[in-house]
């Protein structure tokens, strides 16, 4: 089930091998007795880029954290419904291997207070990659993939926190890619970055198309339109987040089924 992180299966060779899709079925989440979102069913298509849009507080991020079971770290949090990775229930999976297969990028870059190299090496080692040259190769690969290699190749031992915000975010992406995940969850990955870094990261996300199943939360409608194949709109109704509409980008943006969607994408609401 879990792809081994090996030489044979580096990024280039993955293209022929379709990444797993994810599917939420009637998913609800409560913090204590307050509902964050309710009855969300959504399929995240294999190899596609799905954008989650909607106003603040409608449960997008909460939804994201359910998918890799990070929500379990919040004590008062209760989840009901079912999530499938490929065709397996995530609750049945070992949480560690689940999180290896479902990577995550946060809104604020969060590299560890280690060296640049160690930031990537450390999770690799923990997931069983031991050989030195293997690690060196993967580190170089993923750093090249995120376009960071030329910028940092001479100072791999420097503290990761000395990088700029955009570089840090790309390092975090590289770190996630190094684990060869099937799915990548991104929580507004560009919103804390300047426009140039943001564009770089955005291009990176586009380049992941086909190789990974990507789910990205964004407030930037233009961005969603640029990068995504599918769009899902969350909205607050009845004091809880709900999935209003989802579908291919062109369909949602050009002929929305729902009045709320139309208002939102035209900038009249939200």
């Amino acid at each position: 089930m879990t792809k081994p992180i090996t030489r044979e299966q580096d990024l280039a060779s993955l293209t022929g091998n379709n990444p797993l899709s994810m599917k939420a079925e009637r998913l609800s989440l409560f913090y204590g007795n307050k509902s964050a979102f309710k009855d969300v069913s959504l399929e995240i298509k294999s190899g596609g880029i799905t954008a989650l849009i909607g106003p603040s507080g409608c449960g997008k991020t909460s939804f994201l954290t359910c998918l890799n079971r990070l929500a379990e770290l919040t004590p008062s949090c209760k989840v009901s419904g079912r999530i499938l990775l490929g065709n397996r229930d995530v609750q049945a999976l070992n949480v560690i291997s689940l999180r290896r297969q479902v990577g995550m990028l946060f809104q604020k870059p969060n590299p560890f207070p280690l060296s640049i190299f160690r930031n990537i090496e450390f999770p690799l080692r923990e997931h069983g990659v031991r050989s030195r040259e293997e690690i060196d190769r993967i580190v170089e690969d993923v750093l090249r993939n995120v376009g960071l290699w030329d910028e940092v190749k001479n100072r791999l031992k420097a503290p990761a926190l000395s990088l700029s915000g955009g570089q840090q975010q790309r390092l975090c992406l590289a770190r996630a890619l190094a684990l060869k995940p099937e799915v990548l969850l991104m929580d507004e990955p560009c919103s804390a970055l300047d426009p140039i870094s943001s564009a770089v990261v955005e291009d990176l996300i586009t380049s992941l198309h086909g190789k990974y199943t990507v789910l990205v939360v964004t407030h930037n409608l233009a961005q969603a339109r640029r990068i995504a194949d599918e769009v899902a709109l969350f909205w607050v109704a009845d004091e809880t987040g709900q999935l209003i509409e989802s579908g291919p980008v062109a369909q949602v943006f050009e002929s929305p089924q729902h009045a709320v969607t139309a208002a939102y994408i035209n900038g009249r609401r939200g």
Partner: protein
């Protein structure tokens, strides 16, 4: 105000120098390292064996207490259920305040006879190391505990998101992130170990010799001062203050060494 600490150190050094000046002027510093032995009443002032005593006891205790202390803190934070962690913390806090006399007394009555049964006389380097380990453990544990508290939660979340296990999170991210605090704990602990007097005096045997194994008795510089100050006069008394001065020099060297070692290794 910030310079107060520096001022106190300076005052203490001045005080020590003032007290040792007569003997340093009349016989010089070299005698304290070249004399054949320590018999201050017969004007022989070799401090080297006690220097070794102090170093061995301290290093031994720090080497044992550091992993134990840090492990205890990790245990409290990431492994123990909350109730047990709190209980454990309270216990350790309590031990931080037990007088050294009580430790020493316990060592003398309980620990020394046990070691004595393995290999007489019992009062030994080993006994000193064990007692000091217990005494500095609370310091290291509590400071480490506080610094673990301060590890930013994003790191933990980042680790979780990558599917890292608990131990991987701890040793890969938490420890490096908290390293400065851990080091502070170790330094404070080492300071306490070097400066400890009463407990060491009771369990170490206090024979002036360079020990060949852990079962041999040793005397530390602090015990030397405490043991002999009561009856010392003239040069003998001044020589005891030289012990104090030498001790300060060791502390200086250790602190600077720690500083250098540490420089550039901490990323936060």
């Amino acid at each position: 105000m910030a310079l107060l600490a520096a001022a106190i150190v300076l005052l203490i050094i001045l005080f020590l120098v003032w007290e040792t000046l007569p003997i340093l002027q009349s016989i010089g510093l070299a005698r304290f390292f070249n004399d054949s032995s320590w018999h201050p009443t017969s004007e022989e002032f070799n401090l080297l064996p006690m220097l070794w005593g102090t170093l061995l006891v301290t290093v031994g205790a720090v080497l044992i207490a550091t992993p134990l202390g840090i492990a205890s803190a990790i245990f409290c934070h990431y492994y123990a259920p909350r109730a047990i962690a709190n209980l454990y913390r309270r216990l350790v806090e309590l031990l931080a305040g037990i007088p050294s006399v009580v430790y020493g007394f316990w060592g003398l009555v309980v620990l020394v006879p046990i070691i004595g049964r393995i290999r007489p006389p019992g009062a030994s380097l080993l006994a000193g190391i064990l007692i000091l380990t217990l005494m500095i453990l609370p310091t290291i544990t509590l400071v480490a505990d506080a610094s673990l508290t301060s590890v930013p939660p994003e790191y933990l979340r980042g680790c979780a998101a990558m599917g890292l296990g608990r131990w991987a999170t701890v040793h890969g991210v938490v420890l490096p992130a908290a390293s400065s605090g851990l080091l502070t704990g170790v330094i404070l602990g080492t300071g306490r170990a070097i400066g400890e007097t009463m407990a060491v005096l009771m369990v170490c045997g206090n024979v002036v010799q360079t020990p060949k194994n852990v079962f041999e008795p040793v005397r530390t510089l602090t015990a030397n001062i405490a043991l002999e100050m009561a009856y010392a006069t003239g040069h003998h008394r001044a020589a005891l203050f030289v012990s104090g001065l030498v001790l300060m020099v060791i502390v200086f060297v250790l602190v600077i060494a720690a500083e250098l070692l540490n420089r550039g290794r901490i990323y936060v």
